[in-house]
């Protein structure tokens, strides 16, 4: 085991997939000689040639549409959208074709393709480079949506996504690209695709998180532990399919739950989780399921992103509110504000 970054793990996953299955292709903007703006495809063109890893014209709808056609033709394309907001031009192809083709053909055509999207913020990016867009995909039936939080998961979830018979939107938390971990990328991890995992155990409350928010949750749990509060941290790993069992089991034990999501809150994935948890664990809950999210604003400029991002303090504030009564503080604040 050596220490590798998430970026390296993703690169290795692509390399191994290209090696093992000649139907796998990698394409997109700047993924060839440059190796991608985040270097996730570094060296692939050199090793596998332009036929297997190549730059396309600059057109996201075209890239995804091309992947659809090639997948129909028997290949397994892995395409890169350069940044979250630059996948939006491909939205029609994703929502109307990628998500629906199997269903429209009554299962006669499969679309084994992966759309990789570096997403979310925390890297001081300028406008349009830091959107958290996972909810758009998670809300679209027919798409699997995955987002790793650890180096090992980055590798295995990407391998699983490429091997999957269905289209997968693979959301890469760009701020974790440089996170480093001792990781075994050469032996099959035990954890199946679609299964969440408790990254830390605790009896007092459950923090549910995914992607970029998992390290925040873990940090918060660390701090809380110093105050004697034992927080369990569940990392979802895949948003679709959703692992109800792991989440529900945890919350039934702890009786309290905070859901963390970096995206703007309104109608995001955290809303889904909060809704599900209270539906399924209502009588075990000692407090409402709270959400800690970004604000309902366009992603802010670098100088202000710290104010927007749900950090350890915001999570701990929510944990504090788990003990109390009917009216979360936010309501008092709302009354003050209006």
């Amino acid at each position: 085991m050596t220490a590798v970054t998430m970026a390296q793990a993703l690169n290795t996953a692509l390399r191994d997939a290209l090696r093992e299955d000649e139907r796998v292709l990698v394409f997109g903007e700047d993924v060839g000689p440059l190796g991608g703006v985040f270097r996730i495809t570094d060296g692939l063109t050199k090793e596998f040639g332009e036929e297997r890893c190549f730059d396309t014209p600059l057109a996201e709808s075209g890239i995804v549409g091309l992947a659809v056609g090639m997948a129909m033709g028997g290949f397994r394309p892995v395409v890169e959208m350069q940044f979250d907001a630059f996948a939006y031009p491909a939205f029609e192809q994703i929502a109307s074709h990628v998500a629906k083709l199997r269903n429209r053909t009554r299962g006669r055509l499969s679309l084994p393709l992966v759309i990789r999207i570096p997403y979310a913020g925390g890297i001081g990016g300028v406008e349009h480079h830091c959107d958290s867009s996972e909810a758009y995909y998670a809300h679209t039936p027919g798409l699997k949506v995955v987002t790793p939080a650890t180096v090992e998961d980055a590798y295995w979830l990407l391998r699983d996504a490429i091997a999957d018979p269905d289209p997968v939107v693979f959301m890469e938390p760009k701020r974790l690209y440089w996170s480093k971990e001792e990781a075994a990328l050469d032996a099959r991890g035990a954890r199946p695709f679609g299964q969440a995992v408790a990254r830390r155990e605790g009896r007092d409350a459950t923090l549910v998180a995914y992607g970029p928010s998992v390290p925040v949750a873990l940090q918060a749990a660390e701090v809380a532990a110093q105050d004697g509060i034992a927080l369990e941290v569940v990392d979802l790993r895949t948003l679709v399919p959703f692992d109800d069992a792991t989440v529900t089991d945890s919350v039934r034990r702890t009786g309290r739950c905070v859901v963390i999501q970096e995206a703007q809150g309104f109608a995001g994935v955290a809303a889904e989780i909060a809704a599900r948890v209270q539906e399924r664990c209502f009588h075990s809950l000692a407090a409402p399921v709270l959400r800690v999210t970004g604000f309902d604003i366009p992603y802010p400029p670098p100088k202000l992103e710290h104010a927007h991002l749900p950090g350890v303090d915001r999570v701990l504030d929510a944990v504090d509110r788990l003990q109390f009564d009917d009216e979360p503080d936010v309501l008092h604040l709302a009354q003050e504000a209006s």
Binding site: E51, T56, P57, A59, S61, G62, G65, L66, A67, V68, G69, M70, A71, M72, G73, G74, F75, P89, E92, Q93, S96, H97, L101, R102, N103, R104, T105, R106, G107, R108, L109, S110, P141, G142, K144, D164, P165, D166, G194, V240, P241, F242, D243, D244, A245
Partner: protein, 368 residues
């Protein structure tokens, strides 16, 4: 490059100044354009049979909407020469990427007409098996299928097959960004794909003049370095001749080809549309006299390629086919609600299994 070579390169990408035509509107032969050769008589006889059949299928489908057996039908009437030439220019192992308007093409390709009409009947999607027929599902989101065709063409090329892809698209669809991205990626990849624009003069109610002010849609080709041609889309002979050349060009690895067929949508957009709201009867009449089926018949009779017997035989076959369509559409197809959960993914997610169970309990309760 020398200026002369540049000029030649540019000229090679521009379409003919006027649409290629073999038969005049009244069906008499015109001096055929040098570059294109007429299809063989045998092929033309086959084309004729298909034209008669295609037209009959189309009027039958329209009639079925009036009887409520079809929810909606976008008619191909007037566009048969485009669609049938497209199909005839392809081999069986070539792929076709049609739109919602191309039912006549699909029938001509040999797909069971009941399967072709499944979707329009309100039933399970797409109807036929795209992998077996090498025909993509009829596509509604405009222009999106043109990129799929490029991807498929590229896949075929990479697999070393010498089959190709052909994408159909309407005049309105050419305004969508996806058409642009498809042409460009096809050109850059040198993908073996033919784009056939059926310019039927309307996008629902919007006439061509509000869609483009280009001299012709075929002039879009040069902006991508794509060879292009414009053809009289109501002249089967010209369509077949040009499309055969285009397919050859593409199959031989010379890159994509764009063909614009000037034609006319003789019926309303669909049976649900009221075309009198936006176009004059006089215009429709003018085009009725340029009818592709009648024109082909006159042309072929005039050249002695077909006679009364052929005409009779084609009509009889078409009637039999229409009867078969009617019979097929009378058989009520079952739609199983539980199948709704079966094809979202290869394996339903736990969430879909829950939802399936919920539906089962609802249906169970209703039975009580």
């Amino acid at each position: 490059m020398s200026v002369k070579a540049l000029r030649q390169a540019v000229d090679s990408l521009l379409p003919s100044l006027v649409p290629v035509r073999f038969a005049a509107e009244n069906g008499t032969a015109v001096k055929s354009p040098g570059a294109y050769t007429a299809p063989s008589d045998e092929l033309l006889r086959e084309a004729y049979r298909r034209m008669i059949l295609g037209r009959r299928f189309d009027t039958q489908a329209t009639a079925l909407t009036k009887q409520g057996r079809l929810a909606v039908y976008p008619s191909s009437r007037g566009q048969e020469a485009c669609q049938i030439a497209g199909v005839l220019a392809l081999r069986e192992d070539d792929w076709l990427f049609p739109t919602y308007r191309d039912s006549v093409a699909l029938v001509s390709r040999g797909i069971d007409p009941v399967e072709v009409l499944t979707l329009l009947q309100g039933g399970w999607h797409c109807g036929y098996d795209p992998a077996a027929t090498r025909v993509a599902p009829q596509c509604t989101p405009l222009a999106t299928q043109t990129i799929h065709a490029v991807g498929m063409a590229e896949a075929l090329r990479r697999k070393g097959e010498d089959s190709i892809a052909m994408a159909f698209i309407g005049d309105g669809g050419t305004s969508e960004g996806d058409f642009h991205e498809a042409l460009n990626s096809a050109a850059v990849l040198r993908a073996p794909v033919v784009f056939l624009v059926q310019n039927n003069q309307y996008a629902i109610s919007v006439p061509l003049a509000k869609q483009t002010v280009a001299p012709a849609l075929a002039y879009k080709g040069i902006g991508y370095g794509v060879r292009s041609e414009q053809v009289d889309g109501n002249d089967l002979v010209a369509m077949l001749s040009v499309l055969t050349a285009a397919v050859e060009h593409v199959r031989s690895g010379q890159g994509p080809f764009l063909v614009e067929a000037h034609t006319y949508r003789m019926d309303a957009h669909t049976n649900a549309d009221d075309a009198t709201r936006y176009r004059q009867a006089a215009e429709v009449e003018k085009w009725e006299s340029a009818d592709p089926v009648a024109r082909l018949e006159t042309y072929l009779r005039g050249r002695g390629v077909i006679g009364d017997e052929d005409v009779e035989a084609a009509r009889t076959a078409a009637e039999a086919f229409a009867a078969q369509v009617r019979a097929g559409m009378n058989a009520e197809t079952e739609a199983d609600p539980f199948e709704l959960f079966d094809h979202v993914f290869a394996e339903p997610t736990p969430q879909l299994r829950e939802q399936r169970a919920l539906l089962a309990s609802e249906l169970h309760a209703q039975e009580d």
